[in-house]
Symmetry: D2
Subunit: 306 residues, 4 copies
Amino acid sequence: KRTNAKNMTRKLNISGIYPPIATPFTEREEVDYQKLDENLQKYSKLPFKGLVVQGSNGEYPYLTVNERLEVVKRVRDILPNSKLLIAGSGCESTKATVQMTGGMAHAGADAVLVVTPCFYRGRMNSKALIHHYTKVADASPVPVVLYSVPANTGLELPVDAIVCLSQHPNIVGLKDSGGDITRIGLIIHKTRLEDFQVLAGSAGFLMAAYAVGAVGGVCALANVLGEEVCELERLCMLGDWEKARELQHRLIEPNTAVTRKYGVAALKQAMEWFGFHGGATRSPLQPLSQTELQQLHVDFSSNGWL
Amino acid sequence: KRTNAKNMTRKLNISGIYPPIATPFTEREEVDYQKLDENLQKYSKLPFKGLVVQGSNGEYPYLTVNERLEVVKRVRDILPNSKLLIAGSGCESTKATVQMTGGMAHAGADAVLVVTPCFYRGRMNSKALIHHYTKVADASPVPVVLYSVPANTGLELPVDAIVCLSQHPNIVGLKDSGGDITRIGLIIHKTRLEDFQVLAGSAGFLMAAYAVGAVGGVCALANVLGEEVCELERLCMLGDWEKARELQHRLIEPNTAVTRKYGVAALKQAMEWFGFHGGATRSPLQPLSQTELQQLHVDFSSNGWL
Amino acid sequence: KRTNAKNMTRKLNISGIYPPIATPFTEREEVDYQKLDENLQKYSKLPFKGLVVQGSNGEYPYLTVNERLEVVKRVRDILPNSKLLIAGSGCESTKATVQMTGGMAHAGADAVLVVTPCFYRGRMNSKALIHHYTKVADASPVPVVLYSVPANTGLELPVDAIVCLSQHPNIVGLKDSGGDITRIGLIIHKTRLEDFQVLAGSAGFLMAAYAVGAVGGVCALANVLGEEVCELERLCMLGDWEKARELQHRLIEPNTAVTRKYGVAALKQAMEWFGFHGGATRSPLQPLSQTELQQLHVDFSSNGWL
Amino acid sequence: KRTNAKNMTRKLNISGIYPPIATPFTEREEVDYQKLDENLQKYSKLPFKGLVVQGSNGEYPYLTVNERLEVVKRVRDILPNSKLLIAGSGCESTKATVQMTGGMAHAGADAVLVVTPCFYRGRMNSKALIHHYTKVADASPVPVVLYSVPANTGLELPVDAIVCLSQHPNIVGLKDSGGDITRIGLIIHKTRLEDFQVLAGSAGFLMAAYAVGAVGGVCALANVLGEEVCELERLCMLGDWEKARELQHRLIEPNTAVTRKYGVAALKQAMEWFGFHGGATRSPLQPLSQTELQQLHVDFSSNGWL
C-alpha cells in the first residue's frame, strides 16, 4: 500500500478516465462555443472521472492566452462539480507557465497538466525540468500533473526528474503519452513511496498500463468511444483480463488512427461519426485527404465500431 | 479461442520462458565450451521451456559459421530432449540464412529464430522482408520464429509483414524485443485467426506482454535470475496480478542494466555474481568500466537481488 | 544568372551576414533594454548586412507577444537604416503568425523570418506547410524568409515545399539551420529560376554553404566573433578558399559550443568574454555548470580566440 | 602544409576519386565474374585514382568470406597496377576483421576500408572503436582507411576516436559517408598535424567536402557517371568554383537516387542505362518497382543526363 509519509494530507485522487477534449472551431476557425457546450452535455453523462482541457488534442498551441482561459471557464460552467477539470497550462517559459497556471485555477480548473517545455530540447535536461516544475508547483493554487508527450515535444521527461518531482506536495501525478511500458512500470516502482499517480496518455496501451500499476488514462479515443474506454477501465479494475484484452485489442487501431497516424483532424472527423461535434481544425492543421478519410473509416469499421 | 483453419496440424507450441544464452569466451576470446556446459547443466534444472541459442546476447555476429553450428550442437548434446532449442540462424543475405537454417536444424535445433536483415535498412520494406522470410520458411526443416530487435538492427519488422507471414505454415511466432506494447497488442489482435505465438523479447515488459496476450518471453535476465523470471510467468498465467506486478517492478532495473544500458558485458558480469559463467566478451565489446560495474551492482542490490 | 521571369521587380536582397541577436535579461529575468541598446551600438559598427531579431537564439518562445514587438521596436530605433532588420514572427497557428507578422512590420522590420510550426509535427507535411506560408506571405506587408531549424522543431521544411514557395512573390529566401549541405545544394539548384536566396543558419557550415551557392548566413557566433564571421564571408566572396578554409576550421568548435552543444546560455556567456552583454537566460534555460563553462572556454581558446 | 612529425615516411596518398564498385550477380544470384570483368575494363580507362571494392554498394554483407576474397583477386588481376585497390575488410568482430584484412592484402588490396562494427551499437563508444581499429591497424599488412556510414550502421565514428586513430602510422584516412559537412571540416581541422586524408563518401557533398579540405571521394555515382565525377574533382582542384557548383548541382538528385533514396538496385539499374553491367541484386534486396524505376529515370533526365 502506498503512503506518503512526508505529507499529512493525501493528494488529490486523479484516478479514472478522461477525454482530452477537442476544441471545435467554426469554418472561420473561431472557437465554436455552441458545439463545445453540446459536447460537454454529452460527456457529462458518461462515467468519466473528469475532462482534460487543452491536452495536445485541444489544439492549445493554436489558442491565444485569452482563448485558453475562456474555454476552461466555459467547461467549468457546464461540467458537474463532481467531475474533475484538469487544464493544460504549459507554456515554454517558466514565467508564462506560472501565470497561465494561476489563470487556469482562477478559471475553475481542479488541477493543471503541465507539458514539458521543449523548444530548446537539447538543454531541457533533468536539472532544467526539475527547476521548471518546482517553480510552477510552488506557485500553483491547484495540484500539478506532469505531462510527457514525446511525439509532440521530441522530449521525454526523464525518470530521475519524475522521481524527484514526485516528492513535491503539490505534484500529484504524471500523464505519460510515450507508451514505453517498461518506463511506465519503472516510474510507478520508483515513486511507490510517494502518493504519485500515473495516467496512461493513450488508449492504445491502457490495459498494459493498468497491469503495471497505472490508475487511469487520458485517452483521445474517449472523445469518440467514451463508454468503451470506461468499460475497459472497469474490466481492468475488476481483473477480468480476458474480456479486457479483447476490448483493448479492438481499440488499438481506432486509437492510433485518431492520434499518431492522422492526428487531431481524424479525431474531429471520428467525433462527427459518433454523434459529437468535431468541427474544423485551426490552420496549419489540414483536413484529411479522401484516402486518409477512407482509411480512418476502415480503422473503425474493421474493428466493429462502424 | 484461436484456431488455424488453414492448417490441419497445430504449429509447434513455443509458449514459455527462454534465456537467450550467453556464449562464454576464454580470456583469449575462444569459445569456452567447458563453461558453456556447466551453465547448461544449471539451466537444465530451471523451469524454462527451453533455450534460445544465438539471440542477440549470444554475440552471434562475432561467431564464425562453424562456431555458430558447433555451439548449437553442444547445447543439444546437453539439454534434455524435453526442452526446446531455438537457434538463431539469421544472416544478412537470404541465401546465407537458408543455409544457416538448414545447418542449425541439422545441429539439433527444434526451431530457428531469424533476425531481420538490416544492413540496407532503408530498403528492408515489407516486400523485401516478406520475400526473405518466405524463402527461409519454405526451405527450413524446422519451424521459424520471426525476430524484431530494433535496438540492434535499427529496423522494426512491420506489422503488415508480420500479419502476412503469420499465415505461413512453417512460421510459428515472433520474438519482439522492441517493447512497444501497443504494437505487440496489435500484432496479437491481427494474427488472432492464425496459430501465431508472440514472445516478449525482454523481461522489462514481460508482464505487460502477457496482459495483452503474449505467451512467453525470451529474456536476457533469465540467464541471471531464471527462477524469478519463471515465477513472473507463473503469476501471470495464474492471473495473480498484484504479486506479478510487484515482481515485475523489481526486475525492470536489473533487466535494463544487462540489456540496453550496459549490454552483454553486464549480462556476463551479473551471471558471475549469480553462480553462472559469463566469461569474457569478444572484441570489440569491452569489459565494463569501474563506474559501470558499480552502477550495475546498484541496479541489482537496490531491487533486493544482491 | 538568376532571373525571376514571373515578377517585374527584384526581390529584396538579403545577402550577407546577420547575427541572430540574443535578448539580454536582468537577473529577475526581465528584458534588459539598456544592455540590448549597448550591444546594438557595437553591432552597428560591424560589417553586418543587418540583424535577425528573434531567431532561435533570441529566446523568442520565452517572450510575450508584447515583448516580442517591443524588442523589435527598440532595435529599429537604434539600428542604422542602412542595416536590414529581419524579425522572427513565427507562431504555431497560421492566424497568430499572420498577426505577429503584421505587428513586426509595423514595429519596423524590413522582412520577417517565419519558423515552421512544429507542435503537430506528424501532420506538418508539405501540404500543410505550403498552406501556412502562403497565407502568411499573402498577408505580410514585408518580404518573408522561410526558416527551417530541425534541432529545435524536430522538423525539416521539405524541399518540394520550398521549391513551390520560392515562386511566391513575397517569399525571398530561406534560412536553413539543419546543415545538410547536400540538401542546401539541391534547394539552390531547384530554385535557380526564381529570385530565391539561401542563408546558412550557422557559422559551422558557412563556407561550404557559400561553395554550393548560399548568399549569406545567420550565425549565432556572429554575436561573439562578428568581425571574423564577416571576414569569412569576404574570403568566400573573393574566392580565396585557402584562407577561408583556415578561418572556417577555427570557427567550428566555438560555433558548436554556443549552439548545439551548450545553447543560448553558452552564447550569452561567450558574449560577455568578448565585450558584449549576454545577461541571464530566462527560465527554464539554466546557466552553464562549471564543467560546461570550462569546456566552453577551451572551445574558444584551443582555436586561438581566447 | 601538413606534416606528420611522428613518422619518418609519408603515408600512402589516397587522394582522388573512386567508384565503390557494385558486384554484378546473375539471375540465380551468383557473382557474375564475366560482367565484373567487363565493368573493370571500362573503369580502367576512366581517370579514377582507383577502385573501392566492397564498400556498402558492393553488397559485401551478402557475400561469403570466400566470395569477398575472390572478387578482390579478380579486380586486382584486371586493374592496372597504377590504380589503387581499396578493399572493404570490415566484419563485426575484431578477430574476423583482422583475418579478413590479412586476406584482402594477400588478395592484392593496396589498402583496406574498415567499416565500424555496429550490431551492438549502444556499446560501440570511442573506447571500443579505438580498441578495434588499433588492433586491426596493428595487424594489417596494408594501410587502413576508417569508414563511417551511419545510414547503414546507425553509428557515427566519433570525432575524438578519429583524432586519436589518425596518429596511428598505419591509418591513413577516413571515408565519411554521413555528409555532415561541419563534422567533416572539424575532423580535417583536428587532424591537421597528422598525415590524415579525408574522402567524401558520396557525390552529393563532394564539392563542399573539397571546400573544407577533403582530398577525394568514394562515390557510388562514379559507377554511372564516372567522367563527370572526375570532372567535378578537377574543377574543385583548379578552384573553378562557378563551374564546379553548376556540375555539383546536377549530380545531387541522381546521386541521392542511387544511394539513400533507392539504394543498390537503383545503382545497378542506372549502370545498365550508362553502358555498364549492374546485374541483379542479391536477396533480400529487391528490384525497383515500376514507379521507382520511372522516378529514377526522372532524377537523371531532369538533370540532363538521360
